[in-house]
């Protein structure tokens, strides 16, 4: 039985003359946490968009739990947090979660209990009744994490989750990710925060100009990079790949 939560097979995506992703092959095993790294414009966001079915690849296949992510029902098993979304300013976080819960087809009771749990987990209980327009950037990020986790997804896809989080919030978030991993959830996140990525991930994939130039476990770093992820990252980008 295929243990992969997602599989990206020789996928390319072009926008006119520009090839954002070129021949990418990547997969994520169940229960794994993978960091998705790369410079700006490397193709990370395009890859994530193909993964959640927002756009179709020009060539190759993308499979989410063995199915095409464009099928809406398969997305019931994923949670996605975009980079810096400005959620509906006229709602408070409870209403936001109630809305997303409804969109996920959850009933009111489940939404309520899940909301209480998540607000506690992301530290927004005290601000629950305030409209989102009064939230800081970090608080909006936490609301975004909460909505991504609302339907208890098997796969969590996060785009720059650490943006705007203060040190305390980062620690809380790290603990949250660890708990999710212990529950057997798979997590795939893109980030520029190499330190956080190194602490959380089982493996990293590094993109450069639409190609995945490195994909390997983090615990191999001592051999590959001779040290830490930052050194590996710079090495990989300069050399264009690792043997």
């Amino acid at each position: 039985m295929n243990d992969n939560v997602f599989e990206i097979n020789n996928v390319s995506r072009a926008f006119g003359q520009v090839t954002a992703v070129d021949g990418l092959t990547l997969s994520l095993r169940k229960g794994e946490v993978t960091g998705f790294l790369g410079t700006n414009g490397a193709g990370k966001t395009t890859t994530i968009k193909m993964l959640i079915g927002l756009i179709r690849p020009t060539s190759g296949t993308v499979r989410l739990f063995g199915r095409d992510p464009v099928e809406s029902s398969v997305r019931a098993r994923i949670g996605y947090m975009p980079e810096m979304a400005y959620y509906y300013p006229f709602l408070n976080v409870r209403e936001l979660l109630a809305f997303y819960g409804g969109v996920c087809g959850m009933d009111g009771k489940s939404v309520k209990s899940r909301t209480d749990e998540l607000l506690e987990a992301v530290g927004l209980v005290d601000a629950a009744k305030r409209p989102l327009k009064t939230y800081s950037k970090g608080m909006l990020q936490r609301a975004g994490i909460a909505q991504a986790l609302l339907n208890d997804p098997d796969l969590l896809i996060l785009d720059e989750p650490f943006t705007g989080l203060d040190p305390l919030a980062r620690i809380h978030f790290r603990e949250l990710i660890k708990k999710l991993r212990e529950k057997g959830k798979s997590i795939f996140f893109s980030s520029h925060e190499l330190g956080e990525t190194e602490l959380l991930c089982d493996s990293v994939a590094i993109m450069k100009k639409g190609h995945c130039i490195y994909h390997g476990p983090v615990d191999r770093l001592a051999g590959d990079g001779g040290g830490n992820l930052e050194r590996l990252f710079l090495d990989v980008l300069e050399k264009g790949g690792v043997q």
Binding site: S72, Y80, Y88, Q147
Partner: protein, 260 residues
């Protein structure tokens, strides 16, 4: 099926909350009071008892408001989602683009209708207080047709938001709708006074443009003409539903092809 209804219901509720929390409604209500209260107290030549002018003014104001609300709500539906990047977490949920479009549209229509019901209720109460008859067949027909107008305006604004920038779309529709409202039925007269390509253009416009004047039953309400024949009523309802459906279909195609 339950899941689909829940998904669409959640989207509808979002639009309703947005309209009633944006303070637009309250601003419009205050403006209405500022305009209509002095008007209701007017004593032309010191005489009292005239009411039709007030009904006409009030209903014209309601039409203006409903256009403003419909174009505003419809135009903002996806524009704000794209601008605030909330379309991404939405589409990452188990909801198809078609459901999202339908749910957002129905939400906007529900929002526009709630505002319309509010203003019509106010007008009915005001008419009743002045001794007029309000809850008649004509009133019901007028409300239903006006509601269809709002649905069509929302569909047009939604479609326009995918074709043009928000301000361009709103401006175009804010010109087109009143122009058709007041002059649409006179287009054949204008066509007769021009020739050549211009005549062809006017004729084509006459056939294709949304004839929003069909939904206008103000004169019937103000002057007590009574309701329209059932066949005519159904014809106008059919026109409104069909036109809105075509606009929605076209919007669906645009949405599916939109690069996200």
């Amino acid at each position: 099926m339950n899941g689909r209804i829940r998904r669409i219901g959640a989207l509808v509720k979002l639009s309703l909350l947005e309209l009633w929390r944006r303070n637009d409604m309250f601003a419009l209500l205050v403006l209405a009071l500022v305009l209509l209260v002095p008007l209701s107290m007017a004593r032309p030549f010191g005489a009292t008892g005239a009411t039709r002018y007030f009904d006409e003014a009030a209903l014209l104001l309601v039409w203006g408001y409903s256009l403003f609300i419909s174009l505003g709500v419809g135009g903002r539906l996806f524009t704000s989602e794209f601008a605030n990047r909330t379309v991404y977490p939405l589409l990452a949920k188990p909801v198809s683009r078609g459901e999202l479009l339908l749910g957002k549209y129905l939400g906007a229509v529900a929002a526009a209708w709630s505002a319309l019901a509010f203003f019509y209720a106010l007008w009915a109460v005001s008419s009743a207080l002045r001794g007029g008859e309000c809850l008649s067949v004509c009133f019901f027909q007028a409300f239903v047709l006006h509601a269809l107008f709002a649905a069509l305006a929302v569909a047009a604004a939604l479609c326009g938001s995918f074709l043009f920038t928000p301000s361009a779309s709103t401006t175009l529709l804010a010109i087109l709708f009143p122009a058709m409202f007041f002059f649409g039925r006179r287009l054949p007269e204008y066509a007769e006074n021009v020739s050549g390509a211009l005549r062809w253009l006017v004729d084509a416009f006459y056939w294709v443009a949304p004839h929003v004047e069909f939904f206008d039953m103000r004169q019937r309400l103000v002057h007590g003409w009574g309701g329209v024949e059932p066949g005519v009523f159904l014809a106008v309802v059919g026109y409104g539903v069909a036109y809105s459906a075509v606009l929605l279909l076209f919007t669906g195609i645009l949405f599916n092809r939109k690069r996200l």
